[in-house]
């Protein structure tokens, strides 16, 4: 391979636009081009690094596209059965209360098979963070209808579009958990533009800091895309998401602390 002349001179710290987080492993991510998972993984890894939490983090990965999340972020992990991540995280946090404990789950995992675990974990106010990736479809199994699939939206098990009369309505889990007294911070974000990535990163950082206060469950929904499952290019998928997903799942905070607590925590520089 031809050596790029002067590469070392070009890469100077002051010229660095992006540095890969040390918490991200060198494993090649298996995600499809344009998928929101990899971006969300990246900012999660950055937060863990910036907050100095590598030694104190225990993540619970789901069943779904992000099942191999434990290959990408260099912390201790437990891989849960489909939908059960909040139950694992409940026990982990109660037995190791000083650790930063979080789950990372898709919409099939969290809003269908794991609905009971999600609601009761939030209702008990378990002091964990739940990151909820909502792309309105079962991605890993090949694009079947999810609990979050929009009315009229096509999938491999709603080939003529979701007929709400026979197939039921999409479930807004984030709205639901925001009504529970056990949740402390509930927000809905996205990662499809640099500005939205910054907002989501800020939300995750807040949740990390809130967990130290022991005030209840933090719940972050990331409305995301599925170019492969939606059968679109990444650009088309993001446009479709803005035009169709966001009106149904509007971005923004659903529940914030009544008084912003004094966090006294170091903040990262990449926000």
């Amino acid at each position: 391979m031809k050596e790029v002349t002067g590469l070392k001179e070009i890469i100077k710290p002051e010229n660095l636009a992006y540095r890969k987080s040390n918490i991200l492993t060198d494993e090649i991510m298996h995600y499809c081009p344009g998928c929101g998972h990899s971006t969300t993984h990246r900012i999660l890894a950055e937060i863990i690094e910036e907050e100095g939490l590598q030694q104190d983090s225990i993540g619970v990965s789901p069943v779904g596209c992000s099942v191999f999340l434990y290959n990408y972020i260099d912390i201790d992990w437990q891989e849960a059965a489909h939908g059960r991540a909040p139950a694992l995280a409940t026990a982990i946090k109660r037995l190791l209360p000083e650790k930063f404990v979080f789950t990372y789950q898709g919409d099939g995992d969290l809003a269908a098979i794991g609905t009971a675990e999600t609601i009761h974990t939030c209702n008990r106010g378990e002091n964990i963070l739940i990151i909820f990736i909502n792309n309105g479809i079962y991605g890993m199994t090949g694009g079947q209808m999810a609990p979050t699939t929009l009315p009229g939206m096509k999938s491999s098990t709603s080939p003529f579009g979701r007929d709400v009369k026979s197939m039921g309505n999409p479930l807004k889990m984030t709205d639901l958990v925001a009504t529970l007294p056990g949740t402390y911070y509930v927000t809905r974000q996205s990662v499809h533009t640099p500005a939205n990535v910054k907002k989501t990163k800020k939300a995750i950082r807040k949740a990390v800091q809130y967990q130290k206060l022991n005030r209840g469950t933090c719940f972050i929904e990331v409305v995301s895309n599925c170019p492969s499952g939606w059968k679109m290019t990444p650009t088309q998928a993001n446009k479709w998401m803005e035009e169709n997903m966001f009106p149904f799942y509007p971005l923004g905070d659903l529940k914030i602390p009544s008084e912003e607590p004094d966090l006294n925590s170091k903040t990262g520089k990449n926000d």
Partner: protein, 356 residues
């Protein structure tokens, strides 16, 4: 807290023994006939006594997955339930076995299928010893026959679970859970502060990240893992068989029975001997591993073997495999929550003897 003699229900003995064994966590869901376990634990406030966490989950499904999470942290964690709840836990148990995590499950069994009855039964034998959930795996299964053993097997179960990184089950029934007997409780042990090397306790710079998982997409590697499990189960079969013989030395006829049925058959042995029949009892204490060799050895010396159980004939299959044709093996049992009486067991044996 010192060694102590108490009069307790089997269920209460499990709860107190768990605190004294230094358990770190209990996650459960109420179900008859074992709800006294979580009630006792809530009232005993073990968090104040030892720091033990007790939590009532929203379902047995959540409870067993909490056990999974706690076990993954290297903690001594347990759950208890009864048959319908244990069925719900099978998903978690196969994941726990697949992730090679130690934990303790207590089944205070009742009659099924379905909602069935709340009376005692041994009809969960197959589910307990053959795997229960999907995939090739085994639990280590202990069968107590007294309130004392309900207490003792808590610590034994934890020890075996950690020795082999495998879930252990105490397979009891509603009779042993509900009956009161005197029981010696061991002194209070301190909860362990050490963590196994594989536990998820936060990745430190001196080690690679720990990943608790049962997932392997490459069939070559999955087969290697499955073979490792097979080796482990064979090691358990070699090392951990436990059983008790009662009046077997001169026996011409043999009962094989565990748990409540072993208590019944002990009386049946006495009654039969009063009538001049030389009968013995072999009581399996571990159901997995099953006491294959001890049964096979006795089979060469007796005329007839009668497996007595509160199921439609489950353990009798393992007895037949162990006997391997050396002697005729028969089954007698009561089902649906009924318990055989010592007399009816003897009558059944006498009938079989006349047919020899």
């Amino acid at each position: 807290m010192e060694r102590e003699l108490r009069l307790m229900k089997g269920n209460e003995a499990v709860a107190e023994a768990a605190i004294r064994a230094g358990a770190d966590g209990y996650f459960g869901y109420p179900i008859t006939p074992q709800s006294e376990i979580i009630e006792y634990l809530m009232e005993a406030d073990p968090y104040q006594r030892t720091g033990m966490v007790v939590l009532q989950a929203e379902s047995e499904l959540a409870a067993i997955n909490m056990v999974y999470g706690g076990a993954g942290c290297g903690k001594k964690v347990m759950t208890t339930s009864s048959s319908p709840g244990i069925s719900l836990m099978q998903e978690g148990l196969t994941y726990i076995a697949g992730a090679e995590l130690p934990c303790l499950i207590v089944n205070v069994a009742r009659g099924g299928p379905g909602l069935g009855t709340i009376q005692p039964s041994q009809s969960d034998y197959f589910q307990s010893v053959k795997g229960g959930g999907h995939g090739d795996y085994h639990l280590i299964v202990l069968a107590p026959a007294s309130v004392q053993e309900m207490a003792d097997f808590v610590e034994l179960g934890f020890d075996l679970a950690f020795k082999y990184r495998n879930p252990a089950m105490i397979l009891s029934d509603g009779a042993i859970g509900q009956m009161m007997e005197k029981v010696w409780l061991g002194p209070q042990k301190e909860r362990s502060t050490a963590s196994p090397a594989w536990a998820t306790t936060g990745k430190t710079p001196d080690r690679k990240r720990n990943i608790i998982t049962s997932l392997e997409l490459d069939p070559n590697r999955q087969e290697i893992f499955n073979l490792k499990l097979v080796d482990k189960y064979n090691e358990i079969r070699k090392n951990e068989v436990r059983y008790e013989e009662f009046q077997c030395d001169d026996a011409e006829y043999l009962f094989v029975a565990y748990g409540t049925c072993a208590r019944v058959c002990q009386k049946s042995v006495e009654l039969a001997r009063e009538q001049g029949l030389k009968v013995g009892l072999l009581r399996p204490i571990t159901l997995f591993p099953f006491p294959v060799d001890p049964i096979n050895n006795l089979a060469g010396r007796v005329k007839l073997i009668l497996a007595v159980e509160m199921s439609a004939g489950q353990m009798v299959e393992d007895v037949r495999l162990a006997v391997n044709g050396k002697a005729p093996v028969h089954y007698y049992g009561r089902i649906g929550g009924m318990i055989p009486t010592p007399d009816e067991v003897v009558e059944n044996l006498k009938k079989l003897i006349t047919e020899l």
